[in-house]
C-alpha cells in the first residue's frame, strides 16, 4: 500500500502532531467498528448475571457453550444459514451472467440506441425495492412461488443488475478494442470474442460484482420478511429477528445466534477482503 502513497519519493516520513491525531482517529474508529462484534462474541458465552453487571465488557469467566447449543438446536440457525447461502450464491450467478452479457452487448457491439439502453438499465440504481413489493407479492402468490427461495432469488437478481452492469462497464472499458479486432481477424464471431477474449479478462469485475451482490442479498430484510413467511425457508436476517423475539430476556442464546449468523461471514471476509482490495487495485492500475 505504501508503494502507491502519493508522497515525493525522497520525502522523509515525519511524525507531526497532525499525523499523530489522524492516526489516533483511525485507531478509535477501528475500535468503534469492532466493538459491537467483540461485545457480541463475549456475551454469547456469558450467563445473564455476568452480562447484566458482574462482567459487562470483559472476557467471559466461564465459557457457557450451552448458549450455542440452544441457538443451534432449538433456534434452527443452520437451516436459516443454508437458505441465505443458497439465495446469495444463486443471485450472484444470475446477476453476473446477465450483467456481463448485457454489458458486452452495450459496449462492444455496434447498434443504434445502445447508449440509451444503458441509461435505461441505470434507472435501476435509483428505483427503490419498495416500488415492486405489491405487484411482486401478488404475482409471486399467483404463480405459487411465495414461500420458496425463488421468491427472493429472482427479485434480488433484478435489483442487483444495474450495479452489476455499472461495474462491468467500467472494467470492460479497460479491455483494449485491439483485442476484439485481433480476435475478429482470427475468425472469432461475436460469441467467440465474448467467451475467449472478454469473459476471461472480466475476472476482477466478477469479484467486485459478486461481492456487491452478496452484500445486497445477504442483508436484505424487507422482501425476505414479506415474501417468505414459512419458517423452513427463512433467511438469516428474518430467522435471527424471529429468534430474538423469542428470547428477549436471555441474552446469552441470542448472542450465540447472532454470532452464528456472523462468524462464518467474518471468516469468509478474511479471504474476501483481500479479493476486494486486490480487484480494486488491479482495476485502478489498469485505469
Amino acid at each position: 500500500m505504501s508503494k502507491k502513497a502519493y508522497r515525493a519519493p525522497d520525502a522523509p516520513r515525519k511524525i507531526t502532531w497532525q499525523s499523530a491525531t489522524a492516526y489516533a482517529i483511525l485507531v478509535i474508529w477501528a475500535l468503534i467498528s469492532l466493538f459491537p462484534v467483540y461485545w457480541m462474541l463475549t456475551f454469547s458465552l456469558k450467563t445473564n448475571p455476568e452480562i447484566f453487571g458482574e462482567n459487562v465488557m470483559g472476557l467471559p469467566k466461564y465459557w457457557v457453550w450451552a448458549n450455542y447449543d440452544r441457538a443451534l438446536n432449538t433456534g434452527n440457525m443452520p437451516r436459516y444459514f443454508l437458505n441465505s447461502l443458497i439465495v446469495a450464491v444463486s443471485t450472484i450467478m444470475i446477476t453476473l451472467v446477465a450483467s456481463v452479457m448485457a454489458t458486452y452487448a452495450m459496449t462492444r457491439l455496434e447498434w443504434k440506441n445502445r447508449k440509451r439502453m444503458n441509461k435505461f438499465f441505470m434507472l435501476g440504481l435509483t428505483v427503490p425495492i419498495h416500488a415492486s413489493i405489491v405487484p411482486l407479492y401478488t404475482t409471486l402468490s399467483k404463480v405459487h412461488l411465495l414461500n420458496t427461495l425463488w421468491a427472493l432469488i429472482i427479485p434480488y437478481s433484478a435489483f442487483s443488475l444495474a450495479m452489476g452492469i455499472l461495474i462491468a462497464t467500467g472494467f470492460m472499458g479497460d479491455i483494449p478494442y485491439d483485442l476484439d479486432e485481433a480476435a475478429f481477424l482470427d475468425g472469432c464471431g461475436v460469441w467467440g470474442i465474448f467467451f475467449r477474449v472478454i469473459a476471461p479478462l472480466m475476472t476482477p469485475a466478477v469479484a467486485t460484482v459478486g461481492i456487491y451482490t452478496f452484500l445486497q442479498c445477504w442483508n436484505e430484510l424487507m422482501f425476505a420478511n414479506v415474501f417468505v413467511t414459512a419458517p423452513q425457508w427463512r433467511t438469516l436476517p428474518v430467522g435471527v429477528q424471529a429468534l430474538s423475539g423469542q428470547y428477549t430476556t436471555e441474552w446469552g442464546p441470542i448472542g450465540a445466534a447472532l454470532s452464528i449468523a456472523t462468524i462464518p461471514t467474518l471468516i469468509v471476509y478474511i479471504f474476501l477482503s483481500r479479493r476486494i482490495q486486490d480487484s480494486f487495485i488491479a482495476g485502478a492500475v489498469k485505469g
Partner: protein
Amino acid sequence: MKRPFSYKLNIFIFLLPALALFVGVLIAPIIVSTYYSFHNWNGLTTPEFIGFKNYVELFTSKSINITRALKNAMLLAVFSCFIQLPFALWLALRLARGVKGGRFFLSVFFMPVLISTVVIGQLWLKIYNPDYGVLNLLLRSLGLEKWTRVWLGSKDTALGAAFVPILWQYVGYHMLLMFAGIKGVPPELSEAAMLDGCTPGQVSRYIVIPYIRPILRVSVIFAVTGSLKSFDLIYVLTNGGPNHATEVPSTLMINMLFLRNRYGMGSTIAVMLIVLCFVFALLINMAFKEEKGR
C-alpha cells in the same frame, strides 16, 4: 457484420437475460404499482378506482402523517451527506496516502457493512438497553447518571439513537468506494504535484477530490436515496415507535400493506418514494454537472 440479421439476433440474445429480469421485476411492477395507487384495494376484492383520493389522503391525513416520515428521512440524508460522507472521504484519503496498517484499517472499517443489518440492529438494541445496555452502564460508571436515557424508548432521543447505527454501518461502504476511486488517480499526477511542492492536503484537495468526482456523485446519490428508502435498521430498532417518532416512509408503507391491508395506499407511498428518489438523483446529477462546467 456480413449477416446483419444474425448480428442483431445475437445482440438481442446477449441482452435478453438482463432485459427480462429488469423489465419483469422492476419496470412492469412500477407501472402496476402506479395503477394500484389510484385504487382502493385490500388485496382480496376487486380494486375500486378512486382517482387521486389516496394521494390526497396521504398528504392530508393526520393519522398517517407522511410529513413527519419524510422529515425524518431527509434529516437522515442531511446527516449522511454532511457527516458520514466527509468522514468516509477523510478515511479514504488517509488510507490511500499510506499509513501503517492501512490494509487492516480498511478491512476493519468495511466490516460492519458485511454484517447483516438485523444482527447490527439487535446488537445496538442491546447497547441502548436502558437497564443493562453498555451505553447507560458506561455513563453510570463515569458518574453521569443524569445523562442516561431510555434511548430508543423516549420520543426525544429515539430518532437520533436510531440514526447512529445506520450512519455507523455504512461509513465503511462509502470509504471503500472512494478509496477505490483514489487508487485510480494516475500516480504521475499526484507525484508531479508533490514535486512542485504541494502538501498532501493540497494534493487531496486539488487533484484527488476533483478526479474522483464521479464516485463522490455516486456516494451522494446512494446516501440520499438510501436515506429515503431506509427501512431495515429502523424496523429492527424501533419499528417507527415510540408513538411514531421514528416513522420513515418505508415503515409507513409496510404498516399500510401488511397490518392494515391497504394495498392501494401502500402502493401510493411506494410511488411517492420512486418519484422522490428519481427527482433527488436527477437534482444531484445536475448539481455535479453544473459545477463541472465552471
